[in-house]
Symmetry: C2
Subunit: 106 residues, 2 copies
DNA sequence: ATTATATATAAACATATGGTTATATACTAA
DNA sequence: TTAGTATATAACCATATGTTTATATATAAT
């Protein structure tokens, strides 16, 4: 692949928050406010991380009325599956969100 | 895997120069001065990039008298092969180095 | 011992990055 | 149309990062 594209990909992955986001999205698509809730970070911060991931084509977005749902993309990277598989399991966080009624949405 | 370890790995890969180094080391082990020659960068700059790669356990070093040869490691990362396979082929650069007599070493 | 070569480290600086607060935009509902 | 909710963007700031120049360390050769 092109080194510039690869650099952008690894830059996008070179941050703990963004790896957390990818690890969460591996389970299911989530909207911004759900990520804010789970990661206990401010909404602008999450939004800017999502923008980086989107620019690197690691996630894609889908609008549903007022919400924007993000999900894993990365299909341009032949190694993406191997990398995602190395991320820790975050299903517990998702369960907590659902248990606290924070799901579907905000 | 641990997110901190993964973050360090992707940080180490999030730079064009370091991806170039990894792409070159895929072909064969190289010493610092050979990398300096191929990449047309200063020796301290290359050394510091190598240090980051070494700290992330992506490369290892081997001393041979005055030279220190670096080679690919990364065995702690289950995805390393897939990622290295996505790097561009740099055999031409290696050939040029050998043709110009810059090999074995400096 | 002295000189030369290979590499590492340190200091300084400019740029990039991530977080915060404030504000703008988009959609919904009344 | 107005108010409310979800998200994006902008401006600002502190910290991280990459490069350069200068210097230190390590090995080799004389």
């Amino acid at each position: 692949m092109e080194l510039d594209q690869l650099t952008e990909c690894y830059k996008a992955m070179a941050d703990k928050t963004r790896l957390n986001i990818l690890a969460l999205l591996r389970h299911e698509e989530l909207c911004v406010c759900e990520l804010v809730e789970i990661l206990k970070m401010t909404q602008p911060s999450i939004s800017q991380h999502l923008r980086k991931l989107k620019q690197a084509k690691l996630v894609k977005e889908r609008r549903n009325s007022q919400w924007i749902f993000y999900s894993i993309d990365g299909e341009i990277y032949p190694f993406i599956k191997a990398n995602l598989d190395a991320l820790p399991d975050m299903s517990e966080k998702i369960e907590q969100l659902k248990a606290s009624g924070g799901k579907v949405c905000c």
